[in-house]
């Protein structure tokens, strides 16, 4: 092999600059190939850390609403997270609808946070938008804060009956999971 290279170098030396660009090309081509190859090897390894098929297959949960009594809520699990499903009283709905948007930290109408015709049901991802604790307030006996919604025991954030943040440090309203009513007494989350 050494001989071949030596000969090539010798023969090429007569061609001047053309030889240099040819040599650069010969160096860059395998280098580019190696970079593409390294990427092709790296991607399957990286992607293997993404959610696997069985995790994705658990991406939807159905909830029967019949056992939930008016004024209280339940917590169900969806994608490893707590989901609050709460049956709001007429008073709570009215409070949520009547609040002025200008008073809110993250202004959003209650109608935008419930499904049309199902204003008594509020479905929220039960994770405080501050640092990820689970707020209290599903049971009527829980501390619900000044606005009657949820109260986070970790750092004192308070949410109203629409899950909107009314008192910091949380910066945002409780997130809404994607869900749909299968019928009046059954929802599918995810």
């Amino acid at each position: 092999m050494a001989d071949t290279l030596a000969t090539a170098g010798h023969a090429g030396s007569g061609h001047g600059p053309a030889d240099k660009s040819k040599r650069d090309f010969l160096v860059m081509l395998p280098l580019a190939g190696a970079v593409v190859g390294a990427g092709a090897i790296a991607w399957p390894l990286i992607d293997s850390m993404n959610p696997s098929s069985d995790v994705l297959a658990l991406a939807s949960t159905e909830v029967d609403l019949t056992p939930i009594s008016e004024g209280s809520g339940i917590t169900v699990m969806w994608r490893g997270k707590p989901i609050f499903v709460r049956y709001r009283t007429a008073k709570e709905i009215k409070e949520a609808e009547d609040v002025k948007l200008s008073e809110l930290i993250e202004p959003q109408a209650d109608s935008a946070r419930v499904k049309p015709g199902h204003a008594q049901w509020i479905v929220l991802i039960g994770i405080c938008t501050h640092l990820g604790c689970i707020p209290l307030g599903n049971k009527p006996t829980d501390p619900r804060g000044e606005w009657g919604g949820w109260f986070c025991p970790c750092h004192g954030s308070q949410y109203d009956t629409s899950g909107r943040v009314r008192h910091g440090p949380a910066p945002l309203n409780l997130y809404l999971p994607p869900y749909a009513f299968l019928n009046d007494k059954r929802i599918k989350i995810g």
């Binding site: 092999m1 050494a2 395998p30 399957p44 390894l45 293997s48 850390m49 696997s52 069985d54 995790v55």
Partner: protein
């Protein structure tokens, strides 16, 4: 130059700042850039680099497999199925790792054959060779424990048979086996510790490989002529000459590996391992992976438990003392008319042992196994010392740069000590 700083020749100021304090760049340049390497390597000298790359790929894929594997007797088998079916590219990572074990042994066996044929184990590379044998032993332990992890039938019964080897030790054998198992049979504690050790040992291999390479860079590489480097005219800088040559071999090797992974991923495996481990039923054939077959054959060829186990371990142990068993001062088999036949015969013998290991020990297979086992030990313990003693080597070339054979002087005969440097050539 401030006291305590390394005298770096790196020009880039940032790199120079680092290099004067931690001369990694200088070291890499010295050991892998300008490192003087014999100019006459053939492709057998690719296999050290191939083994290193294989080790790195095995560790990488292994780390990602461990992220999804569960070392619990009730869940291990299904967690492997989970990797194969649910984890993104899990099938690819597992097949690369699984076939990688076979590729690793193919590469290392060829690497060892290279050492045997070209006498790389001889002075001054004895310790380099012995470190290599240590790596082989660590690899075998790692491969064995890795094979147990999927917790299939062959995993379970392989683990049972191999751990029971230690019961052959007189008096304390049974206690040692229970200690290995962490119980009264192969079970969950065994699986847990095998997983732990299977993760640990590859990093020990990396450490010994490092020592192996350090030792190599002290003595320098052997070469197909087996004669010493006598000066700069005999060598080439490692880069670009051998980085390129290793890259060519690496491409071919990775293609072969990929062919196994994508077109015949289970060819080298055993279908029985697709059945979950059952401690109440031994499979009809308990056969190790192909790379252990010759040693398994040696074990079975002796109708005595203690002796069989002892011979199996001795078959590796004999490699440790090979540098002192070989009495010939000539390294390369190119110049050893008799030994150059014996080394390939040893390969044939190992294939015969592999055949024996894969078949039921009945009739002809038993006979073949005994003859082949005897030949293996005769080769190392009798032929190797004897042949070196009476064999007349061919005349050695003067140097690597001048591979023209000098005619023997009258009365002088071939000079095995031709390895003595000729000062005039050091121009």
């Amino acid at each position: 130059m401030a006291a305590g700083l390394f005298k770096s020749e790196v020009k880039n100021p940032v790199l120079r700042w680092v290099d004067t304090r931690l001369p990694l760049i200088t070291m890499m340049q010295k050991e892998y850039g300008s490192f003087p390497t014999p100019r006459n390597f053939n492709y057998f000298w690719n296999f050290g680099a191939l083994a290193t790359v294989t080790l790195m790929i095995m560790i990488m894929t292994g780390v990602f497999l461990a992220m999804n594997y569960t070392p619990n007797a009730n869940m291990a088998f299904s967690s492997v199925q989970h990797i194969m079916r649910d984890v993104n590219y899990g099938w690819l990572i597992r097949y690369v790792h699984m076939n990688g074990a076979s590729m690793f042994f193919i590469v290392v066996y060829i690497h060892i054959f290279r050492g045997l044929y070209y006498g790389s184990y001889k002075f001054p590379r004895e310790l380099l060779w012995m470190l290599g044998v240590v790596i082989l032993l660590l690899m075998m332990a790692t491969a064995f424990m890795g094979y147990v992890l999927p917790w299939g039938q062959m995993s379970f019964w392989g683990a049972t048979v191999i751990t029971n080897l230690f019961s052959a030790i007189p008096v304390v054998g049974q206690s040692i086996v229970q200690w290995l198992w962490g119980g009264f049979s192969v079970g969950n504690p065994t699986l847990n510790r095998f997983f732990s050790l299977h993760y640990l040992l590859p990093f020990l291999i990396v450490g010994v490989v490092f020592l192996h390479v350090v030792a190599l860079h002290i003595t320098g590489s052997n070469n197909p002529l087996g004669i010493d480097v006598k000066g700069p005219q005999d060598t080439l800088p490692f880069h670009p000459y051998y980085t390129v040559k290793d890259s060519v071999g690496l491409c071919v090797f990775l293609l072969i590996w990929a062919a196994f992974v994508f077109f015949m991923p289970n060819l080298l495996g055993d279908t029985i391992n697709s059945i979950p481990a059952n401690p109440l039923q031994t499979p009809a054939d308990v056969v190790p992976e192909w790379y252990f077959l010759p040693f398994y054959a040696i074990l079975r060829s002796v109708p005595n438990k203690v002796l069989g186990v002892a011979l199996m371990f001795a078959s590796i142990g004999v490699l440790f003392v090979l540098p002192w068993l070989d009495t010939s001062p000539v390294r390369s088999c190119r110049f050893r008319p008799i030994y150059r036949i014996l080394v390939p015969l040893l390969v044939v013998d190992l294939f015969a042992l592999g055949y024996v290991g894969a078949h039921h020990p009945q009739g002809f297979v038993v006979l073949l196994g005994r003859v082949a086992t005897a030949w293996y030990f005769l080769h190392f313990l009798v032929f190797t010392p004897l042949v070196g003693w009476f064999e007349t080597p061919l005349p050695l070339p003067e140097s690597i740069a001048k591979p023209i054979v000098r005619k023997p002087h009258s009365g002088g005969g071939p000079i095995p000590g031709g390895a003595v440097a000729k000062p005039m050539e050091n121009a």
